[in-house]
Symmetry: C2
């Protein structure tokens, strides 16, 4: 099977801007083309849009605006991991031979309809993700004897790391006290524990091995893919203090790439809320069970940017359909050794973890130089 | 590359029923499982939902309701050809090796938001598809000296053929006079020239060659795939009396299957409006340019069901996200020689033509026994 690589990418600043979804899509596509002069729009066989926006036919609209006449064009939606689902779909179009070059463009507006979970009425009126995050937090704290103060390191670290990400929504540092003193939303969650919905776009151009090498001197390859959906409603989860779908996706992705968790030099993990970062690290096998916060503290103390170098969702902002693409772009830049002040030393193998709705589904990608 | 075949399918009655989208999805999936006792839900690697419905995360919701825990799960949207886009995506997941068995489920409600074309403001307030259909009709009539009375054969034929389709919304025969005397919507379109939005669902289970043969004694293979998006707004079309995207998609699909248009024994073509059927036949190469209506009249006079045996969109109804799947199920049944009163003699090679928004994009599939 052909290798599939990343030939170019583009990303917008994440903000609270009130832009049309079509403009947000087009902006990151423009940056993608501007950043690589070897690209020819006529070579693009497919255009996939990743979004929760309710507008229809956006891949045809984007194609027309960007001057592309693709064979394949459609939108992909799976809430917060729409972006990595679209990347995997693009991979399959290329690996199957139906396409040679695929543009994946993710975008969202700050008022995305994907922020309200309408389908799971077992929670009554508690439709906002903060309610599952709150249950996860309570469960995680109880199981591993963790305090709110200890979890507060996650937003402190990620806002700090975001200061070196020119596209991040975060513009300031926060202390542990700032987190603890921020507005209490539920018994277990404060405002600064939450990633923020925002307006943003991110695009990636994927291509087969030969084409990718023709387009860039610095290709990054997708060597591992794992995905799992366990349910739609989190009340069907067996546990609230680990992520079953993430465990399975990581296992599949690492096996496909013939890598082990200890080979991972840099990772973007889906910190939609503070508790998600240690839980994800444990479920990915990047730390032992219950030891995620120890790893985070150790990395923070040594200024090691290995986990969420761009600031994660909490620091960067969370424009749902763009998030998985933004994560993948960060790992690509890390492996290309062009992440500037965010650069992790000697990054050779990277991992992307993107999930939806209380980790009822997860995607894990392994990327390599 | 592995062959990809159809292992099972299920379809609901198309109606004006006010059902929840989740129920419409589940109903056709239940029928799919009921119709084949060799299936094991644990073997399903991916669940793709095809719809224009605004609800999010429907593939995870459907998976949970249907007792499936897939690896890959997301929604695919491309207006009226969402269904065939999802089928092609499923094909690529299997052909790439990322999945071995993929469930594709399409569903729509009668009040689908995909019925209003919001993005192309070049038409001012004329956002309903009848306006592009009206321009197509005027252009086609002028170019080939065709009358309204001549075009009326399309709904007459398709409503007649729908009477043998137990899932069709149409429940009566119409004469040429009925069509001409039906409510005039624009200068060139009457009510009976239009397919009707409706509530309906259709599901297909695709599998790799070996798995497909293990599941069914009567597999049907997808041997040709062609897709093309020329634009999003029909005012960018070069012509209003042929379908450029359909021509290109047909050319690609026939080439892939090593078939010629004259090999096609039975075809489902996207007759969203009367004029679309002859235009599609011409663009697919199933008739000469300007001669589509001659072919339709000839088939009608000899009771030959070759084109749209289930009654097409006009006779069956048009639940957008389900349409491409329903078309593919019809061709599958024809090739399996189990289409009952709709059966076309000696059907060995079948074609599906599914398009969106004034044929700005088209999918063509070739299916074979």
């Amino acid at each position: 099977m052909t290798k599939v690589g990343i030939a170019s990418y583009g990303i917008t600043k994440f903000s609270k801007e009130d832009s049309k979804i079509e403009s947000v899509l087009l902006n990151s596509v423009k940056k993608l083309f501007d950043s690589n002069s070897n690209l020819n729009r006529n070579d693009i066989d497919a255009v996939l849009v990743s979004t929760n926006n309710n507008s229809k036919y956006l891949s045809a609209v984007l194609s027309e605006m960007a001057g592309i006449e693709p064979k394949i064009a459609h939108t992909v939606e799976s809430l917060c991991n729409s972006g990595t689902n679209a990347i995997v779909s693009a991979y399959s179009y290329i690996a199957s031979g139906l396409a040679d070059m695929v543009l994946v463009s993710g975008a969202e507006r700050y008022d995305s309809p994907g922020q309200v979970l309408e389908w799971d009425n077992s929670r009554g009126e508690f439709k906002h993700p903060i309610f599952w995050a709150s249950i996860f937090t309570k469960s995680y704290k109880r199981e591993f004897s963790i305090t709110d103060e200890e979890l507060a390191i996650v937003p402190v670290k990620n806002h700090k790391q975001a200061q070196n990400n020119p596209n991040a929504i975060s513009e300031k540092l926060y202390s542990l006290e700032d987190v603890i003193n921020s507005k209490k939303l539920t018994d277990d969650l404060r405002l600064l524990d939450c990633s923020r919905p925002c307006t943003g776009g991110a695009s990636i151009l994927l291509a087969s091995e030969k084409t990718c090498k023709n387009c860039t001197d610095n290709p990054i390859w997708i060597t591992g893919i794992g995905q799992k959906t366990t349910s739609a409603g989190f009340t069907k989860n067996m546990t609230f203090s680990s992520m079953v779908s993430t465990q399975e996706a990581a296992s599949t992705a690492l096996k496909m790439s013939k890598r082990d968790a200890k080979d991972i030099d840099v990772a973007e993990v889906h910190d939609a809320f503070s508790v998600c970062e240690p839980m994800a690290l444990e479920s990915l096998g990047l730390s032992d069970k219950g030891k995620g916060l120890e790893l985070i503290n150790e990395l923070y103390a040594t200024n090691n940017l290995k986990i969420n170098p761009r600031g994660g969702l909490i620091g960067s902002g969370h424009p749902l359909g763009a998030t998985g693409l933004a994560q993948t772009i960060e790992i690509t830049q890390q492996l290309q050794l062009c992440a500037n002040k965010r650069q992790v030393d000697n990054a050779k193998v990277g991992l992307v973890h993107n999930m939806s709705a209380a980790a009822t589904s997860s995607t894990v990608l392994v990327l390599e130089k």
